[in-house]
C-alpha cells in the first residue's frame, strides 16, 4: 500500500528514465539500460570506503545499515591499490520482480543502496550531507518540473531508471 503521491512519483520516474534510456540507446542499443541502475546478478551492492578495514566494524554498522538488522548480509574486504575498504551488503530475501515493486513505489533494493551511501558518508565524513530545504523561488507547475522532482526523489538511491 502506497500513497498516491508515491505512485505519481514512480510513474514520473519511469517516464524520466525513458529519456535517459533514449539518450543511451542512441549511443548503443545494448546500453539502453542506465548504467547506474543495473543490479548485479548476485544481489550484492558495494561501495568503497576510504578507511582501513578495522574502521569498518560489521558488528557496529552505521545506523542506516543497522536498521536492516538481519534482513541483510554484510561483507567487508580490503580494496586493492590502497583504495580503502569494500563494504558490500545484500538483502537475504530479495524480491524477484523488481519491476512490480517499482510500480508500487517501494523498492527495498533501492532503499538499501541509499542506506549504503549514507553509511559510507557516516564512516568517511561523520554526517550525511543534506540539501533540503534549499532556498528557491516560485515553483511553476510544469511537466518537466514534476518529472524532475520525481527523479530527485529516487536519485539518492540508485541510477534513475
Amino acid at each position: 500500500m502506497t500513497t498516491s503521491i508515491g505512485n505519481v512519483a514512480s510513474v514520473a520516474a519511469r517516464a524520466g528514465g525513458s529519456v535517459v534510456r533514449q539518450v543511451r540507446s542512441a549511443i548503443d542499443p545494448s546500453a539502453a539500460r542506465p548504467a547506474g541502475a543495473g543490479q548485479p546478478a548476485s544481489g550484492w551492492l558495494s561501495v568503497t570506503v576510504f578507511r582501513e578495514p578495522s574502521d569498518v566494524d560489521t558488528a557496529a554498522l552505521p545506523a542506516p545499515l543497522a536498521e536492516f538488522g538481519d534482513r541483510i548480509e554484510v561483507r567487508v574486504r580490503p580494496a586493492p591499490g590502497g583504495k580503502g575498504t569494500e563494504l558490500a551488503v545484500r538483502l537475504r530475501d530479495r524480491p524477484s520482480g523488481t519491476a512490480a515493486s517499482r510500480l508500487t513505489g517501494s523498492d527495498p533494493q533501492a532503499d538499501l543502496r541509499s542506506a549504503l551511501r549514507r553509511a559510507k558518508q557516516l564512516i568517511e565524513v561523520g554526517e550525511v550531507l543534506a540539501v533540503d530545504p534549499a532556498p528557491h523561488g516560485r515553483r511553476t507547475a510544469t511537466p518537466g518540473g514534476a518529472l524532475l522532482e520525481a527523479w530527485t526523489k529516487v536519485a539518492p538511491k540508485a541510477g534513475v531508471r
Binding site: G17, V19, V20, V23, A26, I27, P34, A35, G36, A37, V47, T48, F50, K83, G84, R117, K120, Q121, E124, V125, G126, E127, L129, A130, V131, D132, P133, A134, P135, H136, G137, R138, R139, T140, T142, G144, G145, L148, E149, W151, T152, V154, A155, P156, K157, A158, G159, V160, R161
Partner: protein, 391 residues
C-alpha cells in the same frame, strides 16, 4: 531575501526566496559580497542541461563574508572574508585525497541522475541543476556552504573582492586544464575560447613555462584582453584558418597541448555548424562540439587535448580516427579548485594573476535578467556580469 532565479529556458527572474539555514555541522552561511555569471550558466539558460526547475537560484562563482558557522567548522569564524570553490567536496573520500576534488563521492546528494547518464556520479556544484546536487546558487544575499573547511579559502589582505572572486571558478578551471594537460616548458599551447576560463587557462600555461600560448575566439574585445591582461597571442577564427595558422606558429608540428574552453554551445562557420545546431535542437545530439573537433585536428601527433568546456551528453561526428591514429591523449574535468585556489590567491597577492578586467559589468541583483542577457549576447563588450547583492 532577493535572488536571481532560473524561470525557464532563456528566462531569468528576480524573486524573493527564504534565507538559507545551517543543515550540517560542517556548513557556514556566507553573506555574499560578489557573485558572477559563468559560461556554464549559459548552458542552463539554453536548456541544454535539463535538470533545472523553475525557481532554482543561479550562480556558483562567488566570494563574501562568513555570517554563521556550523559546530564542526574549525577554519573559519564570523566576519572572515573568503572565496568559495564552486564544487562541494568532502575532503575525506579517496577522490578528494587524490586531489580530484570535483569527483568527490560525498558531494552530491542526488548521485543517481549523473550515474544514469555517465555510469558514475560526480561531485556537487552550487546552483547547477538537480543533477549536480540541487544546491541553491549564489546570486542572493546569503548562501549555505557545506564542507566549509574544505571549500572556503581566506582572501589575503590586499587582494580586492573583484580579483578574489575569480579564484572561485574561472581561475581554478583554467589551472585544472593547463596542469592536468601537463603543459611543459617549451610547449606550444592553443586555447579555444577567450572567456574567463580560456584566459585563465592561457595564464596558467604561461606560468608553467609554455613557449607560445595562442588564444582563439572571434570577439575583438576578448582577444584584446588576452593580449593586454594575459600576455598571450591571439587568432580570430573568422579571419584565418585556425589549424593552418597554428601549424605555422609551431614549426609545422601543431600545438603540443590544445585546451578547449568553449563547451557544448560552440559557435562555428560553414555547413557543419548548421548540421550541429539542427541536430542539437532536435535533441539528436545534446552538445555542439565545433571547437573540440578543431582542437583534435590541430593537435600535434602524440599531443594532449583537454576539454574544459562543459559537455553534458553526446556529441556527433567525433573525429575518433584522429584521436587514435595521432596517438592523442584526450582528457577533461570539472575543476579541481580546492587543489589550486591557495596557489592562485598567493599569485593574486603578488600581482602575477590579475582578473579584475573580466568584471566588465557590475550591477545589483535587480539587474539579474539584464546581466544574463548582456553576458549571453556579449552586449557592450560584456565578458562577465557581476552581481553585488548588498547594492
Amino acid at each position: 531575501m532577493k535572488a536571481v532565479t532560473w524561470r525557464g529556458v532563456n528566462e531569468v527572474g528576480v524573486e524573493d526566496v527564504p534565507e538559507p539555514k545551517i543543515l550540517n555541522d560542517h556548513d557556514i552561511i556566507l553573506e555574499v559580497g560578489l557573485s558572477v555569471t559563468c559560461g556554464s550558466d549559459l548552458h542552463l539558460l539554453g536548456g541544454y542541461i535539463p535538470a533545472m526547475r523553475a525557481g532554482d537560484v543561479l550562480g556558483h562563482e562567488f566570494m563574501g563574508t562568513v555570517a554563521e558557522v556550523g559546530r564542526n567548522v574549525t577554519k573559519h569564524k564570523v566576519g572572515d572574508r573568503v572565496v568559495v570553490v564552486s564544487f562541494t567536496s568532502c575532503g575525506q573520500c579517496w577522490y578528494c585525497k587524490q586531489e580530484l576534488w570535483s569527483l568527490c563521492d560525498n558531494g552530491n546528494p542526488n548521485p543517481g541522475i549523473t550515474e544514469a547518464l555517465w555510469g558514475q556520479g560526480i561531485g556537487g556544484c552550487y546552483g547547477y541543476s538537480h543533477a549536480l546536487g540541487g544546491y541553491a546558487g549564489s546570486h542572493a544575499r546569503y548562501m549555505r556552504v557545506p564542507y566549509a573547511d574544505q571549500g572556503a579559502f581566506p582572501i589575503p589582505d590586499g587582494v580586492s573582492d573583484e580579483r578574489a572572486l575569480f579564484a572561485s571558478d574561472a581561475a581554478p578551471t583554467g589551472w585544472t586544464g593547463a596542469h592536468q594537460a601537463e603543459v611543459k616548458p617549451g610547449d606550444v599551447v592553443a586555447v579555444w575560447g577567450a572567456g574567463g576560463v580560456g584566459q585563465m587557462a592561457a595564464r596558467k600555461a604561461m606560468l608553467m613555462g609554455a613557449e607560445r600560448v595562442v588564444v582563439i575566439d572571434r570577439f575583438d574585445n576578448r582577444l584584446a584582453q588576452v593580449r593586454t591582461h594575459i600576455g598571450a597571442e591571439t587568432l580570430d577564427y573568422e579571419e584565418v584558418d585556425v589549424p593552418a595558422e597554428l601549424r605555422e606558429m609551431s614549426g609545422g608540428r601543431g600545438p603540443d597541448v590544445c585546451i578547449e574552453a568553449v563547451g557544448m554551445e560552440a559557435h562555428g562557420n560553414g555547413p557543419q555548424y548548421l548540421y550541429d545546431q539542427v541536430k542539437q535542437q532536435l535533441r539528436l545530439q545534446s552538445d555542439r562540439p565545433t571547437a573540440l573537433r578543431e582542437a583534435i585536428y590541430a593537435c600535434r601527433k602524440g599531443g594532449t587535448v583537454f576539454a574544459l568546456g562543459v559537455f553534458g551528453g553526446l556529441v556527433d561526428k567525433f573525429p575518433m580516427g584522429a584521436v587514435m591514429n595521432k596517438a592523442l591523449t584526450l582528457r577533461g574535468a570539472q575543476q579541481h579548485g580546492h587543489r589550486y585556489i591557495p596557489e592562485i590567491l598567493d599569485l593574486m597577492a603578488r600581482d602575477e594573476v590579475r582578473t579584475e578586467h573580466l568584471a566588465t559589468h557590475v550591477m545589483s541583483l535587480d539587474d539579474g535578467p539584464r546581466g544574463y542577457r548582456m553576458f549571453k549576447n556579449k552586449e557592450d563588450g560584456c565578458v562577465r556580469a557581476v552581481f553585488r547583492p548588498g547594492a
